[in-house]
Each structure stands twice: as C-alpha cells, then as structure tokens.
Amino acid sequence: MDIDLSSDDLAFQQEVREFLATNAYKHGADYAQWRLNWFKLAREKGGWDVTKWPEAFGGPGWSPTQHYIWEQETAIAQTPWDLPFGLSMLAPVLMSHGNEEQQNRFLPDIRDRKVNWCQGYSEPNAGSDLANLKTKAVLSEDGSHYTVTGTKIWTTLAHIADWIFCLTRTSDSGKKQEGITFLLIPMKQAGIEVKPIITLGGSHTVNMVHLTDVKVPVENRVGEEGKGWGYAKGLLAHERTGLAGISKSLAALENLRKQANEVKRGNGTLLDDPSYRAKLAELEIDLLATEFTELRSLASAANGAEPGPESSILKLKGTEIQQRIQKLTVEAGGIYSAAWGAMPVGHMFARGGMSGYLSSRAYTIYGGASEVQRDVIAKNVLGIKRSQTK
C-alpha cells in the first residue's frame, strides 16, 4: 500500500499544469474563439479534448490515476465550458451500439463542440420509474421511418440543442423494459415544441419537449428496435462509477473557508464562530473520506477489477457534499442571502448564493434520485432480494 504518485504520474501532472497555465483565458480575449482554440490545442496533445473516450475513438488512453490528476488540476484551473450530453452520454452509446455510419456521422461534430445534444429520457409519468415511458414510435409500413409522439420533461438545455437522443416505446407487450427504442432526432423541425420550466433558483435550464407526429428516418435508430433500455442502462451504470466531483468540491470548500474569513462577526470573522467552524470541519472530513473512497475505486479499476462496492456510494456522497457547500455559502451571506438574484448587495462571493443552493437541490434528484441509488445498492451490493409475498 502507498499513496505516492509514480515519477511518470508526477511528470504527467507537471505537463497538465503547464498546459492549463499556458492556455488560460486572458482578460479581454474573445471567449468563444479562446474556447474552440483551447479544445483544438487539447486535441493536439493527444486526445485531451475527449479525455474519457477510448483510445480507438481518439481518447488519450489514460490510466485511472491520470484521470484523477486531470480532474484535480482542472478543478482549480479555468477551463472552457462544456456539456456532457453529446460528449459523455451519447458518444459511449454510439461507440458500443451505433453502426459505423452513425459513428462517422455524429462523433466528429460532438468532438468539435459544433453540435449541441440534449437527453430525452424522463417523461411526466416516467421519473424514477424511467421504464414506464410512453412516448410512442411507430414504424412505417415500408420500414423507412418512425413516427414519434409524446412528451419529454426535465430536458436540460433543449432550448439550445440541435439534436435530442430519445428513449421511445415501440412495443407494449412483455416487460416494461422491453419495447424501448433509442432514436436520434433533430430538434429544429415542425412537430417539436420546447416549453421552458423555471426552477426554484429562478433559472431556465430545463424544459418540457412535446413531440407530435415527428418523422424519424430508420437510419437514426441506434442498435436494434426494442433494445434501447439496455443501451441507456449501461450508460447510467457508467455514469455512476464516474467521478463524484470531489476535486471541485475540495476547491470550493477551500474558497469558502477563505471567504468566510472575510465576513466580519463581532470582533472576529465568521470563521471564529464555533458552530460554523464545526460545520466546515465536518464537511471537510466527509470530503477527505469520499476522496479516498474514490481513490480506492480508481485503484481497483486500474487493476482491471470490476468497480468494488465502495464505488457505488460516490454519487450519493458526492452530491450531498455539493449541496452542503451551497448551504454554507448561503449561511455565510447572512442577511443578504435574502436578496433575490445577483443584486449588487452584500459580499460579492455570496451573491446569488441562494439561487445556487436552491438549484443544488436537484443534484440528489437527477441522474437517479438518492432513494433510487439506495434501492440499487441494497439490491446489487448488499444482495437483498425481494422475498415471496405470502
């Protein structure tokens, strides 16, 4: 057992630091141009623009430790904004289940950040029970296209998306999980209507998407008809063993500690308040534990082992920690935390803190609510099987 980075890993860490420092955004530069150029330079490093893609598709082929180093370093450096929908959610499905023509057609634009995707999974009556989805896709008699009708909900950034990857129902017979088909649908067409949903934080991020008699060519079906659930489920498992945002949370906590030290309280600062201080300490200890849980999980992945039981808890712990950081930011804002939006009152760092906190309540709901995660751990890790009802 040891926690040292190898000399190769240390050299890699140095290389990453240099790359991030050299290509940091410079004040006054054109952001959009800097962003695209950053991805181009990252690509020239050998797949640093698609760090999680397999080598066969242009990824860097990093070890788990290298991924961890990348995550640590990018948590504290400024990197361009990026969206996970095409890059991390659809791309792996296309790589494993799409045909070559689909891979050639969609992957390059995803990689170049040219096309924005959104995810059409949840429906008004299919939330945690996702397999209950009802959006209908009917194959034409000549087998050339599907006609899709139904409603998707909580669709993040559907209002700026060019395409949606959708789970649709092509059959009602058999188990709910059977008869689900994975379709790729352009957003900008008649029959698709996007309605904004404003969330508690006051922002427009998610939407309701109505599809009415939308024609989808059969070439846009990924894999076989009726097998879509398996493709989507594989993706969800992949997501859960991913990183839990620990490095970002460690950086955010460090920041919060500095800022709390600037909030005056009596003759001292908020950091002198024993109860606030204890909450920061408890949060940091949870982070130290979760960081090592993640490292244990990465180390077993590096040995080629299946993710151990410890990896199942990362999403749960990681999102709860992110919420607690938001809550402590609100607390640091004091009386000004009541000001709506980012009004120029109170401490700069705490402005909009309440919005951030309210938005963070969704972290333990999306991507599998915490209660569903616990159901999954009970079944798959603790091995609890439902007994026969008498």
């Binding site: 057992m1 926690i3 616990r374 009970a378 603790l382």
Partner: protein
C-alpha cells in the same frame, strides 16, 4: 498509488483471519471474559509463536520490523472477533514507547520478552482530571539522586493487572496543561508504591486505576527526552488511534453484515424484514459509513507511514468519524435486530459495546472534531 497489501501481508491476514475464526466464537469468548485475567494464555502464546506480538518491533530486537499497515491488518481481524488478548496495550502502545524512546540497553532488556510473550506492557496516560487532553498531567516525577520519585493517579489503564511494566506519563516541570515539561518513565508493576485496582470494562476487557506513591525509578527508565516527552506521548497515541480505528472497522463490518443477514431471515407481516425499504435504506447507510470509515483509515494510516504533511489532521478526522459512525452503525444494528438486539445472546450487542469503548479511548468524536477544526 496502490491500495493492495503485499503478498507477505496477505499471508499475515490469512493467518489472523483463521485464528479469529477458530478461536473466537462468541461462546468461547464470553467464557474468557469471565476469567480473572480476562484472556487466554494459550491464545497469547499462539500470537507470540506466529510473530504477531513483535509485528511493529524492530528486527534488531527480535521483532518483525513492520509498520502501522501490518498492525492495521491484525487489528481489523481482531475487531471482527472481539479479541481479548492485550496485544493493543502491550505491543501497540507499550512497546512503541520503548522502541521509540528507550535507550539501547532498555530496549535489549525489554523488547525480546514482548515478542515472545513472556513480558506484557501497558500504557498509563490518562488521569481523573485530564479527560481527553494528553498534556493535562498532574502526576509528578521529582528528581531524587540518580533517579526520580513519582506520585500521582493514572486512569483506565488497560490490562494493568497482568502487565509487568507500565509506561507512565508524568510532569517534571511546567503547568498542568503544558505540552512542555512532560516525561515518560517505564515503571515496574510490582514496584513499591504502585497500587493497582482492577475492574472490567463495558466490552469485557480489563482496566485499572493506578495510584503511585513515592515510586522510585532510575534515570535509565526515562523514555524520550526529559521534559520533552509530549512528542513521544503523541506518537504512541497516534499509533493507538490508528490501531483502534482498524479494530473498529472490523467490528463495523460484522455489525452491518449480521444485520443484512438477520433482516433477510426474520419474517413479520408475512414478509422478510429486508423487504421494507425503510430498513433497506438504513442498512445502505450503515454500509456506506463503514466504507467511508475504511477510506479514512487507509488515508490516515498511509499518511502516517509516509510521514505526509496532513497526517495529524487525518488522524483527528479518522477518530472523529470512527466514533460518530461506530455509534451510528452499532445503534442501528441493535435497532434492526429488534428485541433480540438488546440481548447478550446475540453477538451484535458485544460489537456495539466495543465500539462505544473505542470512542472513549484516546479522545472521543467531539474531542477530535475540535482538534481538526482548530
């Protein structure tokens, strides 16, 4: 970065797991608890023969020359069996103080006996007024010719009645709560003026109050620096915390797994208890906190072994978390076993008691949270 144990450590783990399985069924353990000594001489000899009693003692003195990772492997297994033999008091605490702080002659005189099991040590650091502060010491050692005379009262000394020598923290200068002015001495348990009053602890082990009245020790029995003993005291406490945490992790594993098994067997309302989601989620939380404790155990242990910068804070984090979650897992294991959970008949109550005692040793959860936050 690597979390696998070496092949040598795997052999150690296999042999200690087998020992616990063969010798530590609850019924056998509870018979040992009832004996005056509170543990088995036969087991003690087995531990010596297998080399465990010298696991962390330097090879030059007959030991195995291992580090805190080797101790962790033993203690985690002992936690799964609620092992009673005084390995913790003698090897982890007493021998550490001598190996790190004793002069060569003293080490040669004391350590081989610890390794072969003929000599048993213990460590007296707490006092009635000190609560959890290592540096709060009023037991005084006063210079007297070529030695010292010790007067004072030490609390909750583990297995003192069967120990041959006791490491005692004393004050040779400074005020009651100063880190400076602390000196550690090795005192013979049968020396004139040493009065040992033994009693059982909640978890079936043995401890004692020790009164020291005019106890003479020679200069050669000084461990560490005169007046500068705090660092040695803290180093021993650090190893103690790591070892207790490993034992706690072993005990937590039994508690959560026994609970999962029991709720699947027990039927009420025509269902296995494990069908009820509220119980499933509780057990998932017990499992998650067990894994988090294990992560902090690895973190603190590896940082101490590698002398990393954040090691001291990680040790505080570990002891805080073990205490808090030991109580959480123990209380819920009892709760989910229902009425059977509060009987002596099932083993879970005994593991719960051990976790409660571990929380109270070397600073409880609140104490270490305060130190971490400081």
């Amino acid at each position: 970065m690597n979390f696998d144990i070496s092949s040598e450590q795997q052999i150690l783990k296999d042999s200690v797991d087998r020992f616990v399985q063969d010798h530590y069924e609850l019924d056998k353990r509870q018979l040992l608890v009832l004996t005056e000594q509170g543990f088995s001489n036969e087991n003690w000899q087995t531990m010596a023969e297998l080399g465990w009693l010298g696991v962390s003692i330097p090879e030059a003195h007959g030991g195995f020359g291992g580090n805190q990772i080797d101790t962790m492997i033993l203690m985690e297994a002992f936690g799964k069996g609620l092992v009673l033999e005084p390995f913790f008091a003698s090897t982890v605490l007493g021998a550490k103080a001598i190996a790190d702080g004793g002069n060569e002659e003293l080490k040669t005189q004391m350590l081989p006996g610890v390794v072969d099991g003929s000599r048993q040590l213990t460590f007296a650091y707490a006092e009635p007024q000190s609560r959890f502060d290592l540096e709060d010491i009023v037991t005084r050692a006063q210079e007297d010719g070529d030695g010292y005379i010790i007067n004072g009262h030490k609390s909750m000394v583990l297995h003192a009645a069967s120990a041959h020598q006791i490491v005692v923290s004393t004050r040779t200068s400074g005020g009651q709560a100063d880190q400076a002015g602390i000196s550690l001495f090795l005192v013979d348990a049968d020396a004139d003026g040493v009065e040992i009053t033994s009693f059982p602890t909640v978890d079936g082990q043995q401890a004692a109050e020790i009164k020291l009245e005019g106890v003479k020790v020679s200069n050669s029995k000084l461990l560490g620096e005169l007046g500068g003993g705090y660092n040695l005291l803290n180093a021993v406490a650090t190893d103690g915390i790591l070892a207790l945490a490993a034992e706690a992790v072993g005990a937590m594993e039994i508690l959560y797994k026994d609970t999962v098994a029991y709720t699947q067997e027990r039927e009420q309302f025509d269902h296995s208890l494990s069908d009820f989601q509220v119980l499933q989620h509780r057990m998932v939380d017990m499992f998650m906190e067990y894994e988090q404790c294990k992560s902090l155990l690895y973190r603190a242990t590896l940082e101490v072994v590698q002398n990393a910068g954040g090691a001291q804070r990680s040790v505080h984090a570990l002891k805080y978390y073990i205490g808090k979650m030991g109580t959480f897992i123990g209380e819920n294991a009892v709760q989910l076993h229902g009425g059977m959970g509060v009987t002596e008949e099932l083993r879970i109550g005994h593991y719960f008691k051990r976790l409660l005692v571990i929380d109270a040793q070397f600073g409880n959860s609140d104490h270490h949270l305060a130190l971490f936050a400081a």
